[in-house]
Subunit: 502 residues, 2 copies
């Protein structure tokens, strides 16, 4: 077989696996949007069947042999070519999936199903001991997972690599140890100033009008509805069933307008990233995003760097006042802008503002690492959480439900994911600095509702690459440096010194 | 391996295939309800992949060998037991699928994709010659299909067997040659009487209120929303993703209240049949219905035998008047009842009343048979259609768009399906006669909005069997005789003699 034929064969096999994964994603989307309650048992079977078939097909000897046989051929190509990257990324995923014994995969699936249920109950009842043995089992499985990838520099590396390919614990620690004191210091400065007003955000806002407003705003920003739609779910998310169908969800609360508004912007950022993959990447492992962190950089750019900026609201706020005259007619742009950027240390990560968010992440990551290293026992986790929370955020959770039990991730076995959220903030700010260097009058454009050049830049520099590059390669390619906390801190200092006047 | 282990193995393999088929059904449902336009290409790939995997798994030697090895074991069991029927029905399907060469399957898929597009264009442009070569190719493939099942009594038999397992062309011809003159005579009698009034059905009815009313009515009839939901589509349908999730769709027209009202009842009948399968049949080939015709007997019972009956509206009509006081406040129950049962020969099958519907079916079936036998050429089909239409219904279609091109079936290769619609009417009336013999005061119960005993009868006698029996076996089991047109004609005579006074 000629290399070109081998490549065609590989692509055909990968396309079939992509179809199975897209189908699974639709089954999951439906479960979270429209499925009647009676469908849950069948849906579990269907997802298990599709995932098992996709896994079996992917770890086949046929794919392994094609990858081996193609290696000499792609070694002669431009290493950034589609072909070379396809083989590289597929091999990376292949090696990960083939290293996992089927017994581990089966046990992990069972353990996280039980752990998820136990966590939901434990959180509802503020009962950490109920979750404790399940978390111990999850940790044990994740430690065994790491061993499949031995030797490693650090036991947390193989986990991190699931979400941020190529990044090491030592890199993340270096970044965060630079960042943490600066974030704490910033927070201290803000706390020393008079607080801003945001009670108007919690008046009663008609939910349909909130929905329509969010749709209107992202439409004006260039959101591609031909390849998307929005639905309501308990927790907002973005999901893809291929290049032509990338969907978002949102949630609405009558007395919390920020949730739908910034949630819709956030998910639109994720979705536009996926839709912006070059069409030729569809149905290959190169479709999608470079990493969870780079993905988050896109959502946070829509939500925060753009969506919580003054120029953005200079353009959109009159329209928002028109839609909600009773609630906002007497609220000035300045008050609104400050209100949506209010900084206040709080208990819950998903409600945290830009200045405190990364602190929520860092404490989680530090605890994860300690658990993985066995330097912290699960039974001591609540106390460690509370101590660190007081240290970083100046408050102590009144209970475990609003403390250590608040996030779903650990119950789903997602240890190693949290750093991606913070990396997303950092990468977003690095990209933001770069865009503003390339498009000198970007704030003026945004102030006039002109989003096309900004979006064209993202498409060209970020989106079209899909998952071709590892996150560090990618950020180096676009900005000339690796992940760096300085632009984010610079952004926060500038923004909050203006808002809080220090 | 012990027979019990073999049976477990067979069930596990069939469950996996069922999961794939349920997933395909969800992908199709999504395509018809919520998919953004950009998703079509990806969706085509996903469906092709899932169907190809399901087919390959089903026709495997492993399943063939299990069926062979299990034969001696199940031969000793009660032939109506789950195990015996599972092996029997699976073998029937297995023999059908394994007889089809993969080249035929591939060619057929390509031909019907092109034929469907050509048909849509031909219908829109009233251009039969555009569809002609495509229909010739479909027919050629269906004739070749029949040859895979040679020897046969009649070339139409293998097609009919897809939709009505075990039934032969000779059976159908016998039934319809009894039925046709009686239907034509009934129509003549009705036409000799003054027409009833139904213009009030075409006033403007708020679509949301139509929707809510349909939901309210089927809810009162016992529809199980825990395992279902309703959505809007261009063409209404019912689809299953397992025992716990069987969905219906409807469509709404502001000036045609019958469409949503009776459409919702119709689909609810289909859905309750599937949901009524014994839960143990789920994820096996025994889940679902005995045949397309038996399925149609259930939908037509909800829509017509119940839904267009006087007792039903004696109960529900006051509520309908309450919802639509402007449109129906001055319309008496008698006028309403007669209006929804108006008989008028018309061009379009899907809009036909109970008295003319079967005539639409019979002419199609006769033409299909003639085409399959090569006693009619495709180029002569429009003329044959129009001649027969005049003969049976007393009108001649003004063009092919509202004549021979109106139905989607042939463009999708569905030759042999039409008889099921008429069989559904007949079987429905046979079951109706039986229920009324078993529940003496059924009309009184319905007049009081009491549907539980009726539904319990259907569940016990019809639904729970799923696809265990062939249609003739099934109707024999429940009513004591095979498919028989007499009860349907008796029902029509009684109903319309009262309405039209003859």
């Amino acid at each position: 077989m000629q290399p070109e034929q081998r490549l065609q064969k590989l692509k055909a096999l990968l396309a079939e696996i992509a179809d199975l994964n897209y189908a699974s994603a639709l089954l999951d989307w439906d479960q979270q949007t429209y499925m009647p309650p009676g469908g849950a048992e069948n849906r579990g079977h269907q997802l298990a069947t599709l995932q098992q078939i996709a896994h079996t097909k992917f770890v086949s000897d046929e794919i392994g042999k094609l990858l081996d046989d193609l290696q000499p051929y792609v070694s002669q190509l431009d290493p950034d070519s589609f072909e070379a990257r396809l083989v590289k990324v597929t091999r990376r995923n292949y090696e990960k999936e083939t290293k996992l014994p089927v017994e581990w995969v089966t046990e992990f699936a069972m353990v996280i199903t039980a752990a998820h249920e136990a966590w939901a109950k434990a959180r509802a009842e503020n009962n950490f001991p109920h979750f404790l043995p399940h978390l111990e089992r999850v940790l044990d499985l994740r430690q065994r997972y790491a061993e499949f990838f031995a030797p490693y520099e650090h036991i947390y590396d193989p986990l991190l690599d699931i979400f941020e390919p190529g990044m090491k614990t030592t890199d993340i620690k270096a970044i965060f140890s630079l960042l943490r004191p600066q974030q704490v210091e910033l927070l201290r400065k803000i706390a020393s100033r008079p607080q801003v007003e945001d009670s108007f955000m919690h008046l009663t806002y008609d939910e349909q009008k909130q929905w329509d407003l969010g749709v209107e705003i992202i439409t004006q920003m260039g959101f591609d509805w031909k390849r998307s739609r929005q639905d309501k779910t308990l927790h907002p998310f973005t999901t893809s069933f291929g290049w032509g169908d990338v969907r978002i969800t949102t949630r609405l609360f009558a007395n919390h307008i920020a949730s739908a508004l910034f949630g819709t912007l956030h998910e639109a950022g994720h979705a536009m990233y996926e839709m912006g993959s070059h069409a030729s990447l569809d149905r290959t492992p190169l479709f999608g995003g470079a990493s969870s962190g780079v993905h988050e950089s896109q959502s946070r750019m829509w939500e925060n760097l753009i969506g919580r900026s003054l120029p953005f609201w200079q353009y959109f706020y009159p329209r928002v006042q028109e839609v909600f005259p009773e609630q906002l007619g007497n609220i000035s742009l300045d008050t609104f802008y400050k209100g949506i950027n209010k900084v206040q240390p709080s208990l819950i990560r998903v409600e945290a503002d830009e200045a405190t968010y990364n602190l929520h992440i860092m404490l989680r990551m530090e605890l994860e690492i300690a658990l993985m290293e066995n330097s912290l026992a699960v039974r001591d986790l609540p106390e460690a959480w509370n101590t660190r929370f007081q240290e970083y955020l100046g408050i102590t959770p009144p209970d475990n439900a609003t403390g250590v039990l608040q996030d779903v991730h650990w119950s789903g076995g997602m240890i190693g994911y949290f750093p991606s959220y913070a990396l997303g903030n950092l990468i977003g700010a690095q990209l933001w600095e770069r865009i503003n260097a390339d498009i000198h009058d970007l704030p003026d454009q945004i102030r006039q509702g002109e989003f096309a050049p900004w979006l064209a830049w993202l498409r060209e520099k970020v989106h079209r690459h899909g998952a071709k590059f590892e996150p560090q390669e990618f950020i180096q390619l676009v900005t000339g440096s690796k992940v760096d906390p300085a632009p984010y801190m610079h952004y926060l200092e500038q923004k909050y010194s203006a808002i809080y006047g220090f």
